[in-house]
Symmetry: C2
Subunit: 161 residues, 2 copies
DNA sequence: TTTTTTGTTCAGTTTTAACTGTATAAAAAA
DNA sequence: TTTTTTATACAGTTAAAACTGAACAAAAAA
């Protein structure tokens, strides 16, 4: 009689928390999958997940890999069970914060490198054509590199908790 | 003879910086548009932008609105010019940091509220059905709310520069 | 006022990302 | 080893987001 009511709540939690997870740059399915594992609170197989979310096993396989790569879920061993089991990290804040900051720092750093390389190219050109006016572009590049540096600093700072 | 070389550099800067801007959750076009305005370093009309990026004026209109809503570009008035002019904020770091953190804090806060509401619903149900075992779900909800709180705290902290 | 210019709305199209199912590979059991 | 079970690669499909163009609305000039 009241089972439906609690199931309804659980559904709402699943739905709502999926939205939160999506904010970290995960796809809807990845987010739903993580939430499912997190709420299940015990290791699940690919078949369990496919069944529960009504999606293909292939989708589970690729999604779980993305989650595992970001250390949001981990593979679990259980004697006697052949299928691979996965469970969500319970320390939500730590897991997502680390994963998210890592993504940012890495990406920003890579972009910064690209601009420093462009800066070198500019210096080359200037050496060969002393008459060229590149001051404006040079200044812009400086600003951009500084911008990346500042971003990197902020995220590294946050990373220290 | 060397004009192409410097134009090539400018193109690369445009391309590369667009990638950086995309990281802040803007669409490719919005990002490209911002970068164009930023590098142009002077107010531009919708027609200028459409022409320069080879896209429709409609796309410019909607994109510029998004950018303006996030305070990444501002409308500029110039006597004698009928068309509306826009220019990018030059303080990259400040502009993007504020816009980005605001988006996060707002979204996290809204999600948190949704969960607090669910918590209230749970309490209601418990009152009417004292026999129900909802402890596990309740604890999960607590964790989730805490998670949102922590995220909010972090972003608010960063916001203080 | 009417005419001209500029900006926006919205339905439809194109492009990109997400997802499926078959076929293959890898791993465990027989 | 062969057989059976489970996971992944990949081509193709479906779903979602980005983008366009015609028609409309708003604002300025005549």
């Amino acid at each position: 009689m009241n089972k439906p009511q609690t199931e309804n709540i659980n559904n709402k939690i699943l739905l709502e928390f999926t939205k939160t997870i999506e904010m970290f740059g995960l796809t809807p399915l990845e987010s739903r999958l993580f939430t499912y594992l997190y709420l299940a609170d015990k290791p699940m197989t690919l078949d369990d997940m496919a069944e529960a979310l009504g999606k293909s096993k292939t989708a589970m396989s690729t999604s779980i890999r993305t989650l595992a790569d970001q250390n949001l879920v981990t593979r679990v061993w259980k004697k006697g069970v052949r299928k691979s089991l996965y469970r969500a990290h319970t320390q939500l804040f730590k897991a997502f914060m680390i994963s998210y900051l890592n993504k940012w720092v890495e990406a920003v750093n890579q972009q910064k490198s690209a601009f420093i390389e462009l800066e070198q190219m500019m210096k080359e050109i200037k050496r060969n054509h002393t008459n060229l006016k590149l001051k404006a572009t040079e200044e812009r590049l400086q600003e951009i590199i500084q911008f990346h540096q500042k971003m990197e600093d902020v995220f590294r700072e946050v990373k220290k908790d």
